[in-house]
């Protein structure tokens, strides 16, 4: 069973402010899921290479394109969905106190 402190620690890493009720529920749900996940330990994978790429038979430079200037989103468009913007920037609560 995952302890509540551990749930709080993970919630902090994930930037989630969970309520006490949510922490209780999360501890129960995660414990149940991880108990199932422990099934993976039954398998001997000492000689298995991790599958980090799904398909990669392409040339190594496939992800590179010519370094040429091309149009990108305009400032106005990029800011259009911001909850708070001004002077061409995203605005957030003050980070550094003077």
């Amino acid at each position: 069973m995952i302890r509540h402190e551990e749930v709080r620690r993970v919630a902090e890493l994930a930037n989630l402010a969970l309520t006490e009720e949510e922490i209780e529920r999360m501890a129960r749900d995660l414990s149940g899921i991880l108990a199932h996940v422990d099934k993976l330990k039954e398998l001997d994978t000492s000689n298995v290479e991790a599958m980090a790429q799904v398909l990669y038979d392409a040339p190594e430079n496939l992800t590179l394109r010519e370094d040429m200037e091309r149009p990108c989103l305009e400032n106005r468009e990029a800011l259009a969905n911001a909850p708070l913007a001004g002077s061409g920037y995203f605005k957030v609560p003050k980070v550094i106190e003077r």
């Binding site: 890493l13 989630l16 999360m26 909850p83 003050k94």
Partner: protein, 475 residues
């Protein structure tokens, strides 16, 4: 409205039975009326649809070829970006998000003459197997309104099943196209990983995410996939492999094809589902296929493997919803850290939080090797099962889901039971191979059941050929 296919629309436009604009208007009116029953659509794209339909009509009037999908009404899952058209991802966080660009798949559909009529409901950020995790209410299954349509692409499946769209785009990470297709009685295709560009698809688990088609007929799915597939320089994971003319290969001839039935796919199956799938295998046998039992021994580990990898990737991908650039923002926060936490806590629904938490946990210090790395190794074993099976057979068939559509609310309180229902669809995503669901009959209660067909990487052609031959033999 009489259900259309790509061909019946082409014919109708050619013979001037209707114009593309008339078809778009009728379809929109029908879709809006039906929506009170199913909640399949979150946003209608009336202006965009009519403008596109008029463009098609003008091209036809000038004697130009408007493309293979000319005038065809298409619904798009709301995790796929549409420029200027609200895209919510089924999340409160993006309730008012207007994308500044189109997904590549959307651009290609419109270039082919397709008419996008609206955005379909889905589980929040495509996380769910029942569409009950949408912030905008669940979708109801058109085949039985008290039941779920499946998920996460539930709205797209329901739209095609209702006939309010001829085609729909969905996305599949662990079964989110095939499972709703099977629940709603339509065709749904998860192409090979990398076959379709994900540019403009909201990322859930990047090593597992696919875009793919929904349609009524296999032929229509084949035409749609050809339209959206192929290398896109905006997605570095999109494959270079040339795109064949899938529909041209649908000759109904599947004689001599070797079909494998994985023993592991028939354990713990509802009996009616098993009977219908076995009956479908008999049809393939009558069409000249050789059917034999095969083994995919790592199948029982797939759900565990998937929920580690998918949630790990999701926890990283969903970190971007922080209240700064495009989401709603919690108004009560006074510091930056508080703003992140409150925005995310108020914005994400319970399933997204659960997956973000699980993913963060398995990646956190001390657990990475035991969970994430272990799961990536088990993933290699699942993929190897398939590679070995395809040395013996040309295609694998089996069920899509252990049971047909369940009732709304039936499984919401048991996340593990919900995850386990993805058992037969997850392995195909882990291996990255093409797989699809084609309707194979109904239970005594009238609930649709899907037959899953899986083939080797980039061999969508054989998958479509088998599905089409089966569909022709049974309709």
């Amino acid at each position: 409205m009489k259900p259309h296919t790509i061909d019946s629309i082409r014919q109708g436009l050619k013979e001037k039975q209707f114009s593309a604009e008339e078809l778009a208007r009728d379809t929109l009116a029908f879709a809006e009326a039906e929506n009170s029953k199913t909640n399949a659509y979150l946003t209608f794209a009336s202006e965009r649809a009519l403008a596109q339909a008029r463009r098609v009509d003008e091209m036809l009037a000038r004697g130009e070829e408007p493309g293979p999908l000319a005038g065809v009404p298409i619904a798009v899952k709301d995790v796929i970006l549409t420029r200027g058209l609200r895209t919510t991802c089924g999340s409160r966080l993006l309730a008012n998000y207007i994308p500044p660009y189109d997904a590549t798949a959307v651009i290609r559909l419109e270039q082919a003459g397709g008419v996008i009529i609206g955005k379909t409901n889905c589980d929040e950020f495509a996380m769910g197997s029942s569409n009950e995790n949408s912030a905008f209410g669940p979708v109801r299954n058109p085949a039985a309104l008290d039941r779920v349509p499946g998920g996460s692409s539930g709205g797209s499946a329901a739209a095609v099943a209702q006939g309010t769209a001829v085609l729909a785009l969905g996305s599949d990470t662990g079964g989110s196209i095939r499972q709703p297709a099977s629940f709603c009685g339509v065709t749904g295709v998860t192409p090979t990983y990398g076959r379709v560009s994900r540019y403009g698809l909201t990322a859930f688990a990047s090593s597992l995410d696919h875009i793919g088609p929904f349609s009524r007929t296999v032929r229509d799915a084949a035409v749609m996939l050809r339209t959206i597939a192929g290398r896109d320089e905006m997605d570095s994971t999109s494959a270079l492999a040339p795109v064949p003319d899938y529909a041209a290969a649908l000759d109904g001839d599947v004689r001599g094809k070797k079909i494998g039935l994985p023993k592991e796919f028939f354990e713990g199956l509802a009996s009616e589902t098993g009977d219908l799938v076995m009956a479908a295998a008999e049809v393939l046998k009558k069409l000249g296929c050789e059917v034999r039992e095969i083994r995919l021994p790592h199948t029982p580990y797939a759900v565990a493997c998937y929920y580690v990898i998918a949630t790990a990737e999701a926890s990283s991908n969903l970190a971007r919803y922080d209240g700064v650039r495009y989401t709603a923002r919690a108004s009560s926060a006074s510091t930056l850290a508080e703003m992140y936490r409150l925005t995310r806590d108020e914005g994400f629904g319970p399933e997204c939080k659960r997956r973000i938490m699980l993913g963060t946990y398995v990646l956190s210090a001390g657990y990475y090797d035991a969970y994430y790395l272990k799961a990536q190794k088990v993933r290699a074993l699942v993929a190897r099962d398939y590679a070995e099976a395809f040395e013996q057979v040309d295609a694998i068939v089996g069920p899509v889901s252990p049971f047909p559509a369940f009732r709304l609310g039936e499984k919401v309180n048991d996340p593990m039971a919900m995850y386990l229902s993805d058992i037969y669809t997850i392995t195909g995503d882990l291996a990255g191979i093409p797989c699809m669901s084609v309707p194979c009959g109904k239970t005594r209660e009238g609930l649709p059941v899907g037959l899953q067909i899986l083939t080797r990487h980039f061999n969508e052609t054989d998958m479509f050929r088998l599905a089409d031959a089966y569909q022709r033999a049974t309709s």
